[in-house]
């Protein structure tokens, strides 16, 4: 389902504050509405800013098999840090505002509504040396890839000592060589 969401033009997406989190709703071409609640409720950034950061995070490290909720969890780290620091908050809000402006100048819509990934990537490429971009990117290195729930998707099994290592669990099971 997440795969479909990411392939749908984000212009069909809306974000609603719902329950304890943010609800990302996507209207599918069929008219069906697909919703996915993120555990993260923006605590400092505006909901639109938060949603743009999620889209931006996906565009930086795009994994079609990973749902938005995991990117949102990573962005939640930035959002949380921005609670305690006006400078951090300004970096995010101003960064997203500038990114949206660049998108409007180029594509006539905000960043999150630019339909094609390549176009969004081109917008990011133009700012990749800037502190805002580096903040969002570097946050993902640990914020995304250190989420244990994602490791099985990559085929990584994590801790093994508690399972007796791999001596009897396939350390040399390669069969295709």
């Amino acid at each position: 389902m997440a795969r479909h969401i990411s392939q749908v033009a984000p212009s069909r997406r809306t974000f609603l504050k719902a329950g304890g989190g943010l609800l990302a709703m996507t209207v599918m071409p069929s008219g069906q509405i697909v919703g996915r609640a993120w555990a993260q409720m923006p605590r400092s950034t505006k909901p639109e800013t938060f949603a743009t950061l999620v889209q931006m995070s996906r565009d930086i490290y795009p994994h079609d098999q990973i749902e938005d909720a995991y990117y949102a969890k990573a962005v939640g780290i930035l959002d949380e840090a921005a609670r305690a620091s006006e400078a951090e908050l300004a970096l995010l809000e101003d960064g997203v505002a500038a990114l949206d402006q660049a998108a409007r100048d180029k594509a006539g819509v905000a960043y999150g509504e630019v339909p094609a990934e390549e176009e969004r990537v081109a917008l990011l490429k133009a700012i990749e040396g800037e502190p805002f971009f580096q903040k969002v990117r570097s946050n993902l290195v640990v914020g995304l890839y250190n989420q244990k729930e994602l490791w099985p998707i990559f085929g990584y099994e994590g801790a093994s000592a508690d399972k007796g290592g791999y001596i009897d669990r396939g350390f040399d099971d390669i069969a295709w060589l």
Binding site: G165, D173, I174
Partner: protein, 522 residues
């Protein structure tokens, strides 16, 4: 029972650092009946405390105190405050090492003779030859239980090794095997055999891997002649009017300054901290730092020419299962200038988990080029290049303007790759990719050097006092009762992982120190 020694006891040998050099030396001196105190900057974590999680383990074990960097090496750009990935804990980086235990080759002790004059490099022959080191290598191998020595079988090859081996043989390499490893392939020395856990870098949780923490220090402590004092960061070494060292000042666990007197001081803090400490121990008698009459302290910093090749296949490999360094190709370790560079390199399997792969695969890159590689993690095999790099006078550790929490200047590590390093790395990247392409790799990725694990050479050993910091015994040219006991005494770096040589030198040095003490010479 570990011996507690008094701060005012001026009869003890004080060793700074408890890793391959310091931990071995301290244990060996204690076994010889000599009163020894090891001051270790880090804490003591035991086998059962280690964590099978890359970032959590990094927090637990890594030396994270601030350092700065300069120079054209990529580490300075990618990890400006983390030039080295080494351990701050009892056992030092033997807690983290992968276990590869290779002897240096004969010519590697005589690089100036064999490689000739290389512009921009400060090659120098060691004041020792291989034949003199052989008995100490043999003793070290026995002590560490190195596989493929002393009748100890090799470790079984894991998936990552099998891919490497198949590819290497296909392109004609002959010296391919599961390595000479200080990891038990069968129970030995009261330690169990390897369970193929992986996570060798995070501290071996089965105790199969040799470290000074599990295999040396406890034996030293059992003699009642060794005290290991953790959480003790040495700030400076003191001396008397005659120029002999008298003890060290260190910050204890509470940050209070303590003064431990000493008959002899041995510095073994790894190649960044050791010169930092000597440089910081300046005085009116030694204005440029202790033992630095030559101006060589901190110079000739080496880190091996490294890099990784990760290869993506269309079927699963699960390279992370089992030992991290699971096998080796040694054919390129020879000196053969026809390849376009002097010296040689080893190719050794390496695997890192998803968290570290994200951080190290190609730092800074993003987009689908990066994410599609991560998507193939399960289908990846990987190797690490370990090659001899050129010593250079300007590649050096210096004291920065910045100070740490104790007011001690932090170390700056400057490194510029020599053109020989770049030529070797390029060759190794090409050969590494060829190995994997020979067995069907659909993509190969050149991973730039990680923060340095092999830090060498900043207190180099030399025949002549003008050329280096210590003599053939690791004894400071300028200070008779001061020794250097870690990899910083390496004159040149060789192509091999340094630990076995550090241990062999420490065993040899222990013999020397004990002999000189018995004669009342120091």
């Amino acid at each position: 029972m570990a011996a507690p020694y008094d701060l005012d006891d001026d009869g003890v040998v004080v060793i700074i650092g408890s890793g391959a050099g310091g931990g071995t030396l301290g244990t060996q001196l204690a076994l010889k009946g000599i009163d020894t105190v090891i001051l270790e900057a880090g804490s003591r974590h035991e086998t059962w405390d280690f964590i099978n999680d890359e970032w959590d383990s990094f927090s637990q074990l890594a030396w994270k105190d601030k350092r700065t960097t300069s120079g054209d090496w990529r580490v300075s750009r990618d990890f400006p405050n983390l030039p080295a990935w080494i351990v701050k804990a009892v056992g030092g980086s033997t807690v983290h090492w992968a276990g590869a235990s290779l002897r240096f080759q004969e010519h590697e002790f005589k690089t100036r003779t064999h490689y000739g004059e290389i512009e921009g490099a400060t090659l120098l022959d060691w004041p020792i030859v291989l034949s003199e080191m052989e008995p100490w290598y043999a003793m070290a191998e026995d002590r560490m239980g190195v596989t493929r020595t002393n009748g100890i079988p090799g470790l079984p090859g894991n998936n990552n090794f099998k891919v490497l081996e198949a590819g290497a043989r296909k392109i004609g390499y002959k010296e391919v095997h599961t390595g000479r490893m200080a990891i038990n392939s069968e129970p030995r020395d009261d330690r169990a055999s390897c369970m193929q856990i992986g996570f060798c870098f995070q501290g071996c949780k089965s105790g199969a891997k040799w470290s000074t923490l599990v295999a040396e220090i406890p034996k030293g402590e059992d003699t009642g002649k060794l005290e290991v004092r953790p959480d003790s960061q040495v700030l400076r070494i003191e001396h008397d009017a005659s120029g002999k060292v008298t003890g060290v000042v260190y910050a204890d666990a509470e940050g209070r300054e303590q003064r431990q007197k000493a008959r002899i001081v041995c510095v073994a803090g790894n190649s960044i901290e050791s010169p930092r400490l000597l440089l910081n121990s300046h005085s009116s008698m030694f204005p440029d730092g202790l033992a630095n009459g030559s101006g060589q302290v901190g110079r000739n910093y080496m880190r091996h020419t490294t890099g990784s090749v990760y290869a993506v296949f269309d079927k699963p490999v699960h390279m992370y299962r089992g030992t991290t360094m699971a096998g080796i190709v040694q054919d390129e370790a020879r000196h053969d200038p026809s390849r376009g560079f002097v010296g040689g390199y080893e190719l050794e399997t390496l695997s890192i988990g998803v968290p570290f792969m994200a951080a190290f695969l190609d730092p800074g890159t993003w987009g689908r080029e990066f994410s599609t590689a991560m998507d193939e993690y399960r289908n990846m095999a990987g190797l690490w290049i370990v090659g001899e790099d050129m010593p250079r006078a300007e590649n050096r550790v210096t004291l920065s303007e910045e100070t740490d929490e104790y007011g001690m200047p932090v170390a700056n590590v400057h490194f510029d790759d020599h053109e020989n390093d770049n030529a070797m790395r390029e060759h190794a990247y090409r050969q590494g990719a060829a190995i994997y392409e020979a067995v069907g790799a659909v993509r190969t990725i050149r991973t730039p050097p990680y923060p340095s694990t092999h830090n060498l050479g900043t207190n180099r050993m030399s025949e002549s006092p003008e050329d280096g910091v210590v003599n053939r015994w690791g004894q400071a040219h300028d200070v008779p009762n001061l020794f250097v006991s870690d990899g910083s005494q390496f004159t040149t770096g060789a192509a091999e992982n340094p630990t076995l040589t550090i241990v062999a030198l420490a065993l040899r040095q222990a013999d020397h120190i004990a002999g000189r003490m018995a004669k009342g010479e120091i």
